[in-house]
């Protein structure tokens, strides 16, 4: 069972602020969906390999060649806050 405290913690992990009055509602919905997911336990998956990817692909390599790329102005053109051509983030420490 997911509690309101769990929802708060998951929200913290996901960097999603959950308002106090929403915690209960999310806990209920998450429990309902996770209850449905529980049916996967019925399936015997002994010796079954997981499928991360449907195609049997290995690493794809390319030559290390310089190609065209965005200019600095284009790259930061959508940023809400910039300084001296850089993205400006909130202070970390």
């Amino acid at each position: 069972m997911i509690t309101t405290k769990d929802v708060e913690h998951i929200g913290w992990l996901a960097r999603l602020k959950i308002e106090e009055e929403q915690l209960e509602g999310y806990a209920e919905q998450l429990n309902s969906v996770l209850g449905y997911f529980g049916q996967l336990d019925e399936v015997n998956t002994k010796d079954v390999e997981p499928t991360y990817h449907v195609l049997e692909m290995n690493n794809v390599f390319r030559d290390d060649e310089v190609t065209d790329c965005l200019s600095q102005d284009e790259a930061i053109g959508n940023a809400p806050r910039t300084q001296d051509g850089y993205f400006k983030a909130p202070r970390i420490i």
């Binding site: 692909m57 959508n78 806050r81």
Partner: protein, 471 residues
């Protein structure tokens, strides 16, 4: 609805600019709320050079789902968090469309970040179904299917992570293909669940869908999952199914299926039998676990993919920055809608320490069994036939309040994405004026047989000739 050949003829009789202008008039005067952004200026400018263009889609208006990057045209994923974002580059499919002479007329509505089955979760409001404006167009590519059904444009692109091209194609009575994973480059497609999703073409008939598919399919080194090789899919437009064996998986006719849907699909099987195909029932025993496995995987991938939306490089930013954690958490809380938040939370939980084996790894193993179901079923058959959706389009507001009820609507579409096989939806009947979709699935990289079966069905039926009354 309008076809490519009608559009090309109209261009010959007037000009590409005139035809594009008319298309934009229909979009702007339309009542189904199909678009988020109409790119009128860019489209008319591009149309000026289209009369002398030699590409197969020269001057043809195309609508793009709002989760594909379009240089200079706002791209929002139907989310508040990306409002005002103008990509500095084109998605690979958009580059290919422009090279073929197509005119991008704008960006169509969708469920926020493609998470939904009804287009009701869009921050910009729902799109309406042209066959009945009280009903949903399906989702998540609801705008893509509705704009074609309403005759605003002949062609559009959607994306399909768990049915998001096929569901709206079914609900809106148009043709939509989810290609084999890897056939179309995802470069420039804003990721939701990257191991499941493919861009897919939508049109009013199989031939047009195939022409559009031919233009956008092919290798692109910028998507490492893009497979090498080019094919001419139009060679598969053959009106003949003699010798083909159809598999009908009974698990796709599960409880809750609308009797009219069941009948129309079986009529479709018999029609193809009359035309020379044979059919047999096949078993796909893990189908009932596909929904749970799909949602675990999709939500897990979503929680990771959507971590990039933090207001630093693009999108919503608060007036004042606080500390790092508070700033990010508030931006994301205000920018994402309810369903997106739910999926991020569930995905974060499914990937968190202590639960990863129980949910994520377990779902990936069930995915293997579902993929094996397809391999076995398609060993003695060439294609599989089933309903795309268990019902015709439901009403606006009918399912949106209960997430799990809405997820259940995807029961027949998600297994295809888990297995990565190709699947097309095309009209096969009507129930009380609402279209019903037939789903034709095939082997990996065997789009040709899927297209051939769909084309033969269409050439020998008249469901695709009906259009909704839009005026």
């Amino acid at each position: 609805m309008i076809t490519i050949s009608q559009t090309l003829e109209a261009i010959r009789n007037s000009s590409a600019e005139e035809v594009v202008n008319q298309s934009i008039d229909r979009i702007e005067g339309g009542k189904f709320k199909t678009f988020i952004t109409v790119a009128k200026e860019q489209a008319l400018e591009a149309a000026k050079g289209a009369d002398s263009h030699s590409g197969p889609l020269a001057g043809v208006p195309v609508a793009i789902k709002d989760n594909m990057s379009t240089r200079g045209i706002q791209t929002t994923c139907a989310s508040k968090i990306l409002e005002g974002y103008v990509p500095p580059y084109d998605a690979h499919v958009v580059e290919r469309l422009k090279a073929a002479g197509a005119i991008i007329v704008g960006k169509v509505n969708m469920d926020e970040f493609a998470m939904g089955t009804s287009t009701e979760s869009s921050y910009y409001g729902p799109t309406l179904n042209p066959w009945d404006p009280e009903r949903v167009p399906g989702g998540s590519s609801g705008g893509s299917a509705a704009t074609v059904a309403a005759g605003e444009v002949p062609l559009s692109l959607g994306s399909d992570t768990g049915g998001s091209v096929r569901c709206p194609a079914s609900f809106c009575g148009v043709v939509g293909l989810k290609p084999t994973y890897g056939v179309i480059s995802r470069y420039g497609l804003i990721s939701y669940a990257n191991s499941l999703e493919q861009i897919g073409p939508i049109a009013s008939n199989v031939e047009d869908m195939t022409l559009l598919f031919n233009v956008i399919a092919g290798h692109d080194p910028r998507d490492s999952t893009s497979v090498v090789g080019e094919k001419d899919y139009t060679k598969a437009l053959v009106d003949d199914v003699k010798g083909l064996t159809i598999g009908v998986p009974k698990e796709y006719f599960s409880e809750g299926i609308d009797p009219a849907v069941e009948k129309s699909v079986w009529d479709g099987v018999r029609k193809l039998e009359d035309l020379g195909a044979s059919w047999q029932e096949v078993e796909m025993p893990h189908t009932k676990y596909a929904l749970a496995a799909y949602y675990v995987i999709a939500m897990s991938e979503a929680s990771s993919n959507l971590a990039r939306f933090d207001g630093m490089r693009y999108g919503l930013r608060l007036e004042k920055d606080h500390d790092w954690h508070t700033t990010y958490s508030e931006i994301r809380a205000r920018g994402f809608g309810e369903e997106v938040k739910r999926r991020i939370l569930l995905g974060t939980y499914a990937l968190s320490a202590g639960y990863m084996d129980k949910y994520y790894l377990k779902a990936l193993k069930v995915r293997t069994l579902i993929k094996q179901d397809f391999e076995k079923a398609l060993k003695d058959t060439d294609v599989l036939l089933a309903p795309t959706m268990p019902t015709p389009a439901f009403k606006l507001g009918e399912k949106i309040s209960d997430p799990l009820t809405l997820y259940m609507a995807d029961v027949n579409t998600v297994p295809i994405n888990l297995a990565g096989v190709p699947s097309v939806s095309l009209p096969c009947g009507f129930s009380e004026g609402l279209p019903i979709g037939l789903q034709i699935m095939g082997r990996h990289f065997d789009e040709e047989t899927v297209i051939r079966t769909a084309y033969t069905f269409e050439q020998n039926t008249d469901f695709h000739t009906r259009s909704p009354e839009v005026v």
